[in-house]
Amino acid sequence: MSDYSEIEIKTSDKKAEDLGLTKSEYQKIKKILNREPNFTELCIFSAMWSEHCSYKSSKKWLKTMNFQNSSVICGPGENAGVIDIGNGLAAVFKMESHNHPSYIDPYQGAATGVGGILRDVFTMGARPIANLNCIRFGDPSHPKTKYLIEGVVAGIGGYGNCVGIPTVGGETYFNENYNNNILVNAMTVGIVSANKIFYSKASGVGNPVIYVGSKTGRDGIHGASMASAEFDQTIESKRPTVQVGDPFTEKLLLEACLELMKSDSIVAIQDMGAAGLTSSSFEMASKGNLGIEINLDKVPQREKNMKAFELMLSESQERMLIVVKKGKEKEAEKVFLKWELPFSIIGRLTDSGNMVLYKSDKIVANLPISPLVSEAPEYDRKWKRSKHYTQNPIKKLEKLDLKKNLIQLISSPNLSSKKWVWQQYDHMVMTNTITGPGSDAAVVRIERSDSALAITTDCNPKYVFGNPKSGSKQAIAESWRNLICVGAKPIAITDCLNFGNPEKPEIMGQIVESIEGIKEATEVLNFPVISGNVSLYNETEGKSILPTPQIGAVGVINDISNIASIIWNENELIYILGKNDIELGCSAFDEIIEKTGISEPPTINLKQEKKVGSFVLNKIQEGLIKTCHDISDGGILIALAEMAINSKIGAKIDHPKLDTTPLEWWFSETQARFIVTIPKNQKAVLEKEAVTQNVPILHLGIVKGNTLQINKEMSISLQDLENHNSSWLPDYMNS
């Protein structure tokens, strides 16, 4: 049998369907080619037209989002988005999902998720300075949950720690709807000189195409199509579709690429991510309106007798495709030899407009690039508006007990401390982590400067389920608030849209409404989406995950001497800025105590968010406010408890009086609110300015002592609070 017998494999509707292509897509392929594709070609179409690579279900809606403000240098469409952060520097960032692989093989799935997003960022010339990771698991009582957490956390740490990029934040969340479909969304932020950004658009007919990085093996073949299908009981058999990561090679590749980028050798560069060599070569050639020739025999190979389709679809990790200027091959070679990386000149750019693949001196595929990209399917899938819930009436539980409820909440899986997770991540390497995990937003100094970036990730999937549009607005508003809490000016976001099967109208409805919400919030807050990723088909046996439009946001701090944190100081006065109300729909209080079920989540008033947020930011930048925390899951009492625990100082809260306020007030998740503290002598200043600017302000009490005390009715010691908050996760993992 010859090495490339796949050419002989007859293609058909059935073959196409096996590869995830529909009948009409197969017809379209035949029309584009004016002939039957051979098997290799069909595999290439299958990868390029997979949901994962083509965004065919979401494209129509994604296009409507807001991508611009005055800081944006590069929006969606490149490996990552880029914003101007001043002083001649730019920040490059993106978030990406690795959900299906992480469920099948938690360690490798999560590890390679980190690897992939790191490459997206350093491909653009940026040195990664921070990783974040949002991980969502099923119910803690589900038999697989513990095993999945163990593997995912070790995988994230194993990869990021070895490459030497701090993991500075993220989210860990539990809900039974993720029982059989966990989410692992990894984000990386990097820094680059604004005039040294590298893009993937190829140019210059005749320029050589260089492959560098790990050798190609059979791992990850059909990964992109796997990530575009629902799960069923046969998933164990899909383990070979999960790639295996090697963070050591990633580190070498990172250093080698950044070193080569210092010369002027590189024309275009693209990492080999989903659909490997196929999508990287297509993207580069397509953006440059050029053709490309690749000799597959030249591809560094880990295994013998690899077939053309295997080489084209392999998702072996830690690989880059680089177009260099003709004559600069030696320069590239020198750098790659120094870093001991496999590399090879595998092809060249042509003016044919076609991708031509050779193997053993024969043409094994010949595809027109432009139609394959421009005629990629785009679906206007049927969708229906989500059910509208009303707010459930408060049940008025007779024995509502502030202390007991506080303890129940603060020790619950979602509100308890996640230190067990983040102490397995090196969050300090690079020595710029001013504020690390466990805070509103991470603050990472820009090396050898007085400025910093603030980074946060947010989404409350219950809100999004209760109301996809306002829940998505809330995710953005919360990330905006979290950046402000540390004193950063919010600049832009990346999103990772995790949903179920878009072929179901109710799921498609969630997607459409979520995008509507994102669009509105990003417009009002001038907080555009500059990169992102869509992960669909997050379903197992017909059951969808909670809709999870995960937001990652970046803000700029120009002067690190004026940052704020969650840490308060003895004798400071405590205030709430923002309007208080009682809204318990989809709240933590409802989930754990009242249990009334799904209802309308808290209202989002973006103008109010903007007004209150801008006021707080201004006062932090002026140096008046040094302590700030946003009110989110669990409401005021949880926010106060978190501040007390982190500061190791208690508080005496005198207002409002308990007899005039329902206990639920303390757990309401009404939006657009911050808790701030200020020294006593600034009382008049803050109160006056808030009133002048029409920002609601409420004095709560004073930072004091070693208990958290609400009026005379409730008092809990810091030690108790801390114990209740910190013990759940380690106890669970050790049980």
Binding site: G157, P247, T249, K251, D426, M428, T431
Partner: protein, 229 residues
């Protein structure tokens, strides 16, 4: 002071160490690639943290066979000060410049946190500016920091005052519960018998900047200023 900072493939705290050396002791830092065969003129050699060779085989083992190690060993035996941090400590034990070995943490997990250390011996060039029994707080970040050596070696280290740092609690008590990784006798850092080579798992280069809220590692560097007075 002229410092040779050695870079292996996979080192990732090299830049952190460089910044700390420049800021704290105004060092002139030469970044020395592992394939070099001789060191430039040097007052101090630093082996930084990271994952040299991806920790393959054993942490530090492949790096300990690098070309540059011949000259490092030669210099070390001549008395040139050598500071090995984290992976640097692992390389020093693999190169037999320090006794014992660093095995996997007892809980089998990577661990990154601030840890309290007790300065057990301030009579070395690396610890002279600390007080004896001073309690300091320096972060660790490792998967393999569990120090092991046979009893006679441990006894020898203890008897000859070659243990410089021990993990402790905030009041200085050295107990099992304050041992983050299972190290015998809570050992966090040791020197060779001529006391010119220090290996330590905690990262002093991460603890000098008030902005990151920890400055207790500063004196590991500033103590070295006294050697060229």
């Amino acid at each position: 002071m002229k410092v040779s900072l050695i870079i292996f493939p996979g080192s990732n705290c090299d830049n952190d160490a460089k910044i700390a050396l420049e800021k704290l002791i105004k060092a002139k830092v030469n970044m020395v690639w592992h394939k070099e065969t001789s060191l430039p003129k040097t007052d101090l050699i630093v082996l930084p943290g990271g994952f040299s060779y991806g920790d393959y085989l054993r942490p530090g083992s492949i790096a300990s066979k690098s070309h540059i190690l011949f000259d490092i060993i030669k210099n070390g035996k001549k008395g040139t000060p050598i500071l090995g941090i984290c992976n640097g400590f692992q390389i020093l034990t693999e190169a037999k410049l320090l006794p014992g070995t660093l095995t996997r943490n007892i809980q089998l997990k990577f661990i990154c946190e601030n840890t309290y250390l007790r300065v057990v011996n301030n009579d070395t060039i690396f610890s002279s500016r600390y007080n004896n029994n001073e309690i300091i707080n320096i972060p660790i970040a490792h998967h393999d920091g569990n120090y092991f050596a046979p009893d006679h070696t441990i006894n020898e280290l203890e008897d000859s005052n070659r243990i410089i740092f021990k993990y402790c609690d905030k009041d200085g008590f050295v107990t099992k519960t304050t041992n983050p990784n299972g190290s015998i006798n809570n050992i966090a850092g040791i020197v060779n018998d001529s006391k010119n080579i220090l290996g330590m798992m905690p990262h002093p280069e991460r603890a000098y900047d008030p902005l990151t809220k920890n400055i207790d590692g500063t004196k590991v560097f500033t103590s070295l200023l006294d050697i060229i007075l």
